[in-house]
Subunit: 141 residues, 2 copies
């Protein structure tokens, strides 16, 4: 469903998660920029993705500037590397003033440090583990 | 909460997801066997894990026999490799007659083949993507 107010979303990391999210946001009428150092990953975005692609290392501030991160409503740091996600997220929040920042956290032991810096987190590991346990009827509360 | 009837669960893959699930199932009073070729991964299971560990390649049927897979209520194939998960899952179902088999699918394009073989799937990628989209208020139905 297209929203009245499209969001401007910058996504760092064009792996499987980044690709699904970027495409879906694009289809929903939002303005999306995807940054990844791997041009093959960017090229594999489907035709439905109508946003911009930037090939480059997102830990270099120049690429974040090229993405006009200062105007972004949302920054999603979705690479498979927690250090990269942490660096990009903190720079987005503190330097570019992005209000909503969500980072993928691959190693659950890193979650606390992200939370301390007021970064929302998504943990594929935890989501999968909790889903399996729920499926088996194990109480995890 | 401990169940009246403990489950006998064989888990292949002691990565982050496997480790969380194995530990939690163990704490909940179930009987758990974890198989992984990486002994370091097995060693890093916390003290709360009270099940058995088998160091070896789970695609070798002898290791599945050692795990007494024929008596298992549930087989969880949770490695990061879809081919391994598929092979172990089909062998568990067809050869050992395990009733409930859940496999982690890392590449969403592999989902169909698992489903065709009546294997339940868990996709950390999709779970994370859907969670992010829900968080951003994007309709994904």
């Amino acid at each position: 469903m297209k929203k009245a107010e499209p969001l401007y979303v910058v996504i760092v990391g064009c792996g499987r998660i980044g690709s699904i999210v970027a495409t879906r946001l694009s289809i929903s009428g939002n303005n999306v920029v995807v940054i990844d150092s791997d041009e093959v990953a960017l090229d594999s975005l489907p035709d439905e993705f109508t946003g911009f692609k930037i090939a480059g290392d997102a830990t270099e501030v120049s690429h974040l500037r090229d993405a006009k991160l200062d105007r972004a409503d949302i920054l999603l740091a979705l690479t498979g590397d927690d250090n990269t996600n942490f660096m990009v997220s903190t720079v987005a929040k503190r330097f570019f003033g992005v209000e909503k920042v969500i980072a993928r956290v691959n190693d659950p032991s890193n979650e606390e440090i992200f939370k301390e810096f007021d970064i929302e987190i998504i943990s594929p590991t935890k989501l999968a583990a909790l889903k399996i346990l729920a499926e088996l009827g194990v109480d995890v509360t």
